[in-house]
């Protein structure tokens, strides 16, 4: 069933769209940092409370990531073999910088995700920031996500690395969303052009949303507790 590249591409598209949905959900949670420590810390502990849901989402995401990367690399290898002698000169007429750098941005994002998990999920980078606790009303001491995030992003290289990685995500998404829909056979003479534009708008909005947090921390609009 998945022998052909067309069907393998469909897997890449579906798993990619799953990760786009995750990016939107993840940002919605992250933006609670602007609502203050109580809001984001209770959200964070709330997520851990629904362990079954959290682990379902984690497994789906991990599965999506693995399939997405595996099939992309497999398909790319075929394409490299498909043109053994390259052109001396190639004039691009329709492809974009984003579409031609999908593999590169994808691999850079993939490496950053490992760092990002080590940092905020496993607490291996700056463990002293990870260890902070917060007294949540009606709950008691909980993991202080707010201070961890703000303190981390006040470290210049962490913020810079994050902004660079988010920029790669946005660049990847400029091509990704509309491409995934085309791969799934969604094309409409009237609506495809607006969908392509919306795909770029989504990428830009996500970029602004994600980048706003380290920028606010560096500008000291957000300050860690104590």
């Amino acid at each position: 069933m998945f022998r052909t590249t067309v069907m393998q591409k469909a897997i890449v598209a579906v798993t990619g769209l799953v990760m786009v949905l995750f990016l939107i959900a993840h940002l919605s949670g992250n933006l609670l940092v602007f609502a203050g420590p109580a809001a984001i810390n209770s959200y964070a502990v709330g997520l851990r409370d629904v362990a079954a849901l959290l682990w379902t989402v984690r497994i789906v995401l991990l599965g999506s990531l693995v399939l997405h990367v595996y099939f992309t690399i497999r398909l790319r290898r075929l394409s490299y073999q498909a043109r053994p002698v390259s052109y001396r000169q190639q004039q691009y007429a329709a492809s974009t910088f984003a579409s031609r750098t999908m593999l590169l941005t994808g691999l850079l994002i993939f490496s950053y995700v490992a760092f990002h998990l080590a940092h905020f999920t496993w607490g291996k980078i700056y463990p002293q920031y990870y260890a902070a606790t917060y007294f949540l009303d009606g709950r008691g001491p909980v993991h202080d996500v707010y201070s961890m995030v703000v303190r981390s992003f006040q470290v210049w290289w962490i913020a810079l690395l994050y902004i660079v990685a988010v920029t790669f995500v946005a660049l990847h998404l400029v091509h990704a969303t509309q491409s995934a829909l085309q791969t799934l056979g969604i094309y409409h003479r009237r609506y495809t052009e607006p969908i392509r534009k919306a795909s770029i708008v989504l990428a830009v909005l996500l970029w602004i949303g994600y980048v706003s947090i380290p920028v606010a921390a560096m500008a000291h609009l957000l300050e860690p507790l104590s």
């Binding site: 590249t5 591409k9 075929l78 043109r83 053994p84 001396r88 004039q91 329709a94 492809s95 085309q182």
Partner: protein, 252 residues
């Protein structure tokens, strides 16, 4: 017009090729691109040299024989134009032109600018047909075809199989060609009985031939001299998914 031409010369399929440079001093802007090459070849023959091999037939943009990459664009810089219909007035006096064959594993170079496109023929043979009884001429309009379906099929049938889509694709994918053929027959009532078997077989043959995969750069659509739309690729994707997921035996 004076032109400097850098042309890919390759004596045969299994020998390495290289660019050779030629000067042309008296090119008329009214010549077609192929006529310009004819002039060069006349000179090469007079000098006792091997003329540049290139494929051509109708020279009116409908047969799909000619095709070469000119300055990085299949069929040259003019949109929706085959190399034979490209005129030298598109270029300027003193221009330097790099002329290369289509480059794809599935299109091996036979000589100079001629590539072997029989991989396209094998894709057609795998499913690009309808089965019907031969015999007397059927009555016109015996099978009603809705106008939108007829238009859709007609637009897809404009594909001349020149291979510019493969040449333009960064992945050397033949998806636009295959999609045009699949959509052409799959849009018509006569094409329905074999619709899902057709898409399956043609895609499988495409991959056996060693074409790359589609990653939606849309270079093919921009390079196509007949303006075949990538919406047919979306249609192929839908049809193939249906064929694979629903199962052949359940399909009409």
């Amino acid at each position: 017009m004076k032109l400097t031409l850098h042309i890919w010369r390759q004596a045969g399929p299994n020998v390495p090729g290289r660019f050779e440079t030629y000067q042309l001093d008296d090119v008329s802007p009214h010549m077609s691109f192929l006529e310009m090459l004819d002039v060069l070849n006349e000179r090469l023959i007079a000098e006792g040299k091997d003329p540049v091999a290139f494929e051509h037939d109708c020279r009116e943009g409908i047969c799909g024989s000619c095709g070469m990459v000119i300055n990085g664009s299949p069929h040259g810089p003019r949109q929706r134009t085959t190399a034979c219909q490209l005129h030298m007035r598109m270029f300027r006096d003193g221009d330097e032109l790099w002329i290369e064959p289509w480059r794809a594993r599935a299109f091996p170079v036979l000589k100079d600018l001629i590539v072997d496109r029989s991989s396209f023929d094998r894709i057609i043979a795998a499913g690009g047909y309808i089965s019907c009884h031969t015999g007397g001429v059927p009555d016109a309009n015996a099978i009603p075809v809705p106008k939108p379906a007829a238009d859709r099929a007609f637009d897809a049938a404009a594909c001349i199989g020149c291979g510019a889509c493969v040449a333009a694709c960064p992945n050397a994918s033949a998806m636009l060609f295959v999609a045009a053929k699949v959509a052409h027959l799959g849009s018509l009532p006569q094409g329905q009985p074999e619709r899902y078997r057709r898409v399956r077989r043609m895609v499988e043959q495409m991959e056996t031939e060693g074409f790359g995969h589609c990653s939606n750069h849309y270079e093919c659509e921009a390079a196509c001299p007949k303006g075949i739309s990538i919406e047919y690729i979306a249609q192929l994707n839908r049809d193939l998914r249906r064929a694979e997921l629903v199962g052949q035996e359940l399909l009409p």
